[in-house]
Every structure is written in structure tokens, then in C-alpha cells.
């Protein structure tokens, strides 16, 4: 009986070839990436002139996209590390989803920051002339560290699954078989091997939490270490981290739904998973709302002259439509949906997840650009188009291309590796049945 169940689990969870839907999905993502690549070639040739960035709004959607990527990547540490260390078992099927989101997002965070550079050809200067007092160097260090820890947290739990997959030689085909053997042929399911990886995963789970906090705190310091109204805040680190956990959890809701319906994984990603993740999102949204209230209400109470222009621009001015959209979409509406039992059913939770992620993307834009358009000295002695910012098609294409690229990485990962850990699922079911 048990044996049968195990076979069934393996059968259900082995990676599957792209169906027609999958092919269309991949091709459209590739098309978006190609357009982004073309736009970036234009940017390399003509310079940042092709963007709408100018001396005042000198950071735009590239940087907000960077913050977004760093934010969403924090979910890896939340699901794999925080829940693991607190001995929560229901989240096991979600760990790999969270971890691949983390790896893919943090890689594209690194790429998009190079896209924003005026001289990407001098990237090596960061290593040959790097100065430790610059928060950018801190970011380079912690993001690289986070990427490697995340990769290891993705890889170690994959080893027993690789062993299983190597057994399906015919199904795999020549190239995938080679890849699996290259990655995992040394794994023999020996107890000592499990002991070592378990220990390693525990150590990594502990280390990834401070590193995850560091990546987003340092990212917030790129802004908070300056004097500008809207950035000059002691609240910024915590504000960024709470927002990051929220958008990451929203991303997991979306991914759960897509994988579940597409690969027919209803038995593994159950309604209860949506119920529980939904509750987590409510909690995270409330925490983020709390930090937002701190971030906006306290300066608004005082209305210092320099802050006033910035705040009024958000509340009732130029940026108010985006501001209220972002606040409602990323926090208020998802809370209202997910507090209800019906709201935590897969479809509604998926919808709430989309709201969270889209709202959060615009929220990052609001953190970056409006502040730059409200400098201490009034904007003056510059061409008229320097005083506003609306991204050009090249910027949209490049930002869109990076998002599509991140999705492609996740898609291909799910094509090559089991998106739900097979071995761990078997163990969990066994222990469940014993209990």
C-alpha cells in the first residue's frame, strides 16, 4: 500500500514536458525578453539618453524594479528558513517554489542594477576600486552572499530527488539525464549523506535569516543614507523588510495556484495551503500597513516644509492615483479578501496574490522616484522635460524583459526539476500515516 503511494507521488511530481499552454507561455516570455534585450542594446549604444531619466529623476523604474526583485526574493528565507526553524511542516511542498523565486529574483536584481549603470563596461571597478563605506558595496556583498546561500538551499534538498529522477532514464532523455547525473550522481541515499545535508540545511536556514534581513535593509539604506524627504527615515529598514515579506508571500500565492492548476497538483498543494498562506499574507499585510502608517502619518502630522511637497504629491498631487492604487492593491484589498474564509480559497487567494504583487511593484516606484522630483532646492535651470518622469518604451521593455526573464527561470526550473520536493513529500506522508 505504502509502496503504491510512493510510486504515485513520484509519478505525480516528476517534471513534465511543456504542453501547448506551456509552449505559448514560454514563447511569449521569450518574446518579451527579446524586446527587452533589443531595448537594452539601444541603451548601450545611445546611452541612458533613451530613458526618461534626467538629472532630477535620476533613478526610475530600473531601480524600483531592483528594489522589487530584492523584496520578492526575501520569501525564500521566509518559507524555507523561518517556517522550517519554527518546525512548521505544512509548508514543505512550498519550499522549492519559494526558493526558486528567491534565486531567480535575486539574480535579476543583480542584472537590473547593471542595466541602470551609466558605464556597465566599468562594472569591474566595483571590485578593483571598491570602497567599503559605500552602501552600494554592502549591497553587492550581501546580495552575492544571499544568492549563494539560496542556491545551496535549493540544491541540497534537491539531491534525493535527483537520485529518484536519474532512475527514469528514458523519460528524461539524453541531455536532462546528463544534467541530473552531473548534479547528483554522487548521492546514494546513505544515512550519513542525509545527516550531512540535514545539518547543512539547518545551518544555512539559520544564516539566511540575517543575510535576508541584510539584503533588504541595505537596499533601504541606499535611500535612507541620504538627506532627501521621503527617504530620510529611521523606519526604512523595517519598512522595507515587512513589505518584502508581503510581496514574496503574494508571489508564492500566485505560483502555488499556477503550478497547482497547470500540473494538477491538487493533492499536494491543497486548499488548506491556500488557507494557511492566505492567513500569513493577512498578517504580513497588516504589519506592512503598520509601517506605512508610521512612514506617512508621522511626517504628515508635522508637515515640515521639505516633506510637505513630497507628501502632498503622494496624497493629492501628481502621484496620488498611483499612491492610493498601491496602498489599496498591495494591502487594503488583499486584507479584506483574505480575512474571509471564502477569500482563502485558491481562486480568490490567487487574485489577492496578484493584487499584492502588482500593488507592490508600483509601491516601489513611489518609494524611488517622487522623492527625487522634490529636491531641497527647487528644480531650476534645466530643460522642461527634466522636471517630470514617465518611463520611455525602452525602460518598460527592459523592466518587462527582466520580469519575464525571472518568470522564465522559474518556468524552466519547473520543467527540469520537480517543483514540489518528491523525497520530502514521501517522508511527510509516511510520518503522517504512521501518526
Amino acid at each position: 500500500m505504502e509502496k503504491l503511494a510512493e510510486n504515485k507521488i513520484i509519478e505525480d511530481l516528476l517534471p513534465q514536458k511543456f504542453g501547448k499552454q506551456g509552449q505559448i507561455w514560454v514563447i511569449s516570455l521569450l518574446a518579451v525578453c527579446a524586446l527587452g534585450f533589443y531595448a537594452y542594446c539601444r541603451q548601450l549604444y545611445y546611452g541612458l539618453e533613451v530613458t526618461a531619466l534626467r538629472d532630477y529623476a535620476s533613478w526610475g523604474i530600473y531601480i524600483s524594479n531592483f528594489v522589487f526583485f530584492v523584496a520578492i526574493s526575501l520569501v525564500g528565507s521566509l518559507i524555507t528558513a523561518v517556517l522550517r526553524l519554527t518546525d512548521v511542516h505544512w509548508s514543505t511542498p512550498l519550499t522549492r517554489i519559494a526558493e526558486i523565486i528567491a534565486v531567480s529574483a535575486i539574480s535579476f536584481a543583480g542584472l537590473i542594477i547593471i542595466v541602470d549603470m551609466g558605464r556597465p563596461d566599468r562594472f569591474y571597478n566595483l571590485f578593483t576600486h571598491g570602497r567599503l563605506q559605500s552602501p552600494i558595496i554592502w549591497d553587492v556583498i550581501v546580495i552575492t552572499t544571499y544568492l549563494f546561500i539560496s542556491l545551496l538551499l535549493l540544491y541540497f534538498p534537491l539531491l534525493p530527488d535527483l537520485k529518484i529522477m536519474i532512475g527514469y532514464k528514458e523519460r528524461n532523455g539524453k541531455y536532462l539525464q546528463k544534467l541530473y547525473e552531473f548534479l547528483g550522481s554522487f548521492w546514494k541515499n546513505k544515512p550519513e549523506q542525509f545527516k550531512i545535508t540535514d545539518k547543512a540545511i539547518n545551518i544555512l536556514s539559520v544564516t539566511i535569516i540575517p543575510v535576508a534581513f541584510a539584503i533588504h535593509t541595505v537596499t533601504s539604506w541606499l535611500f535612507a543614507t541620504t538627506y532627501r524627504p521621503g527617504w530620510d527615515s529611521t523606519n526604512f529598514g523595517a519598512y522595507f523588510i515587512s513589505g518584502a515579506f508581503l510581496v514574496g508571500a503574494g508571489g508564492v500565492l500566485i505560483a502555488m495556484y499556477v503550478f497547482r492548476t497547470h500540473y494538477k497538483l491538487e493533492k499536494y498543494i491543497t486548499d488548506d495551503h491556500f488557507n494557511k498562506m492566505g492567513k500569513i499574507v493577512v498578517l504580513l499585510a497588516l504589519v506592512y500597513l503598520y509601517f506605512n502608517i508610521n512612514e506617512f502619518l508621522v511626517p504628515a502630522f508635522k508637515m515640515k516644509k521639505a516633506e510637505e511637497e513630497h507628501l502632498m504629491g503622494l496624497f493629492t498631487g501628481e502621484f496620488s492615483p498611483i499612491f492610493w492604487f498601491a496602498i489599496s492593491a498591495s494591502m487594503l484589498v488583499p486584507i479584506l479578501i483574505l480575512v474571509t474564509k471564502k477569500g482563502r480559497t485558491p481562486k480568490w487567494a490567487f487574485f489577492a496574490g496578484i493584487l499584492v504583487v502588482v500593488g507592490s511593484w508600483f509601491k516601489r516606484f513611489l518609494i524611488v522616484t517622487p522623492t527625487l522630483l522634490h529636491p531641497f532646492l527647487p528644480m531650476h535651470d534645466v530643460p522642461k522635460n527634466y522636471m517630470h518622469y514617465f518611463p520611455t518604451w525602452e525602460e518598460w521593455a527592459i523592466a518587462g524583459g527582466s520580469l519575464a526573464g525571472a518568470l522564465l527561470v522559474i518556468t524552466f526550473f519547473a520543467r527540469i526539476f520537480p517543483i514540489i520536493p518528491i523525497h520530502e513529500t514521501i517522508i511527510e506522508t509516511e510520518s503522517h500515516e504512521k501518526a
Binding site: 546611452g47 549603470m117 566599468r122 559605500s134 543614507t225 541620504t226 532627501r228 532646492l377 531650476h380 535651470d381
Partner: protein
């Protein structure tokens, strides 16, 4: 090619530094090959050497100092020893003629539309008097831009000047976000400069030529200062708004008037911009009292 030119430049720099002490007279610029062609005239002149010794030189060997080649960038990072430069901007004299701006733009080949010097129409509040406020880079003693630069492309020198090495700048624009005075501009596209100038090696002291994808800003014209001259904005201003000088010598000049820096600041209640931020600027302002000109905002008239 490049190294050859550099070594020639260094040779010129070292030999000519001594030559700089010699008084100017007619003739061709100094080149090593020509020296042999000159015949002594027999008429000797006494000169003070750089070591402080009196020496005699035949008049025929005296040559005018040609345009000083810029110092190598390694030296430009250190600054001029024993100096601490400062600027005083007298707001009571400014009527926004903007000659400072055009001279600066011209000499630094700044991209059309962009300005390193901006002249702001300021009015603190509805009932207070409007005035013109020219701004340069503040050359802060606690420069926020230098703190955040990841590659040491922008740096603070011993003489107080903050400069940019455009050959090193990676174009991250963190310095622009950090500067509260909005004094930094970015070369969003290939700078529109004549080829002859664009091909020159970049000098931190002249900030020329500006390079695509890097940050530029007011540099206090250390190349002029090194030759004993004044920054271009100072000499271009018809109203003597800008005073430049050395705090250690305690003197500032606009070219025609010279003041004791400390007395000028004391007597006219000099102040610095955004003192509360703790950036400690090197640019001081004299308040717009007893003004030479009424405030007329022609820009606003044009708009209306």
C-alpha cells in the same frame, strides 16, 4: 601613443613648473628642440628660483609660459598643498546676468541645457523679499556624495575641492541622490564636444572632456587656480558676485576687490546653505541686503 603623450606631459609639467617662475616675454612656446637654436644675447636677468635662490639667466633663454598642461590625475587627487579654498557669493550683487553660467558651460563644454551653476529665484516665504541665488558645487567638508561613491570616483582633496574622475565613474548616480544641493548633472548621452577636445585624455582638474554615462559638476576650476587664476565664474561675473580665495590666507577676491575672508563673513553675516545637514560647505553666502539691483524675474515674465 597615450603613454608617450603622458610621459611628455609629465616631462613638461616638471620642467615647466620651474619655468613658471620666470617672467613672460615674447617668443615661441618652450619646446626642448628649440632651445639649442637660441643664441645668448649677453643680457642677463636675475630671477628667484623655485628653491628660493637668486639665479641669473640670459634673457634670450626666457620663454613665455605656454598653456600649462593639466597635472596627472594621481596628483589631481591630492590637491594643492597648503591651501583650503572657499567661495563667497554676495547675493546683494546678483541680478541673474548668468555670465557665470555661460562662462562655466563654455569652458567645461557642458551639454546644452545642462548647467553646473544654477541661478535660482529664491523667496523664503510669501512676505519675504525675493532674490537671486547662484549655486555651484558646495565642495562640502563632509561631502555626502563622496561618502556614497562605491568606487572612489568622486573624492575630496586636501585643499577642500571635491572632484570627479570620469575615467573611473561607473554611472550609478548614487552621488546625485545623496547631494542635497542638486549640484550634480549626468551625461545621459555622448557629450557634444568638438572631436579635438573629446579626444584629449580626461583631466580631473579641468573636468574636460565630459564622458558619456558619467557624472559631472562644478569643480572650482583647480586648473585655473593652480596657475594663480580665478575660477571662470568669478572672472566672468560683471557684478563681482563671486569671491574666491584661500581660507588659510584669509583672503578672497573677485578679481577687482579683495577682502579678508573672516572679516567679510563677520561684517556681512555670511552663512552657508542647509547648515543643519552637517555637510559643512565651502561656499558662503552674503545675505541679499542693500541690493545693487531690484529683483526682476524675466523668466517668469516670459512664461506669463
Amino acid at each position: 601613443m597615450n603613454t608617450k603623450e603622458n610621459s611628455r606631459r609629465e616631462f613638461l609639467a616638471t620642467t615647466l613648473l620651474a619655468g613658471a617662475a620666470l617672467a613672460g616675454c615674447g617668443g615661441n612656446p618652450f619646446t626642448p628642440d628649440e632651445v639649442t637654436d637660441v643664441k645668448p644675447s649677453g643680457e642677463m636677468v636675475k630671477l628667484l628660483s623655485v628653491d628660493g635662490e637668486i639665479i641669473e639667466v640670459d634673457k634670450a633663454f626666457l620663454k613665455p609660459v605656454p598653456e600649462m598642461p593639466p597635472v596627472p590625475n594621481s596628483e589631481a587627487r591630492v590637491g594643492i598643498p597648503g591651501k583650503k579654498f572657499a567661495m563667497v557669493i554676495d547675493l546683494s550683487r546678483c541680478k541673474s546676468v548668468k555670465k557665470c553660467q555661460s562662462a562655466c558651460n563654455h569652458m567645461h563644454h557642458i551639454h546644452p541645457g545642462q548647467n553646473w551653476i544654477k541661478v535660482y529665484p529664491m523667496q523664503e516665504s510669501e512676505k519675504t523679499a525675493p532674490y537671486w541665488q547662484p549655486t555651484t558645487c558646495m565642495h562640502c567638508d563632509e561631502p555626502p556624495c563622496v561618502k556614497v561613491c562605491p568606487v572612489d570616483a568622486t573624492f575630496k582633496r586636501k585643499d577642500g575641492i571635491v572632484l570627479i574622475d570620469s575615467d573611473r565613474c561607473v554611472g550609478c548616480r548614487f552621488c546625485m541622490a545623496a547631494c542635497p544641493y542638486s549640484s550634480r548633472v549626468f551625461n545621459w548621452e555622448e557629450p557634444q564636444i568638438e572631436k579635438e577636445i573629446a579626444d584629449k585624455p580626461y583631466s580631473c582638474e579641468t573636468s574636460v572632456p565630459q564622458k558619456k554615462g558619467t557624472v559631472g559638476k562644478c569643480d572650482f576650476c583647480p586648473d585655473m587656480v593652480r596657475q594663480g587664476g580665478l575660477p571662470h565664474c568669478v572672472s566672468a561675473c560683471p557684478n563681482g558676485v563671486f569671491f574666491f580665495g584661500d581660507i588659510l590666507e584669509d583672503s578672497v577676491t573677485n578679481g577687482s576687490e579683495t577682502f579678508r575672508f573672516s572679516e567679510l563673513i563677520k561684517d556681512k553675516s555670511g552663512y552657508r546653505l542647509m547648515e543643519d545637514l552637517g555637510t559643512k560647505p565651502s561656499v558662503y553666502y552674503l545675505p541679499p541686503v542693500n541690493r545693487n539691483f531690484p529683483f526682476e524675474n524675466s523668466e517668469e515674465k516670459e512664461k506669463a
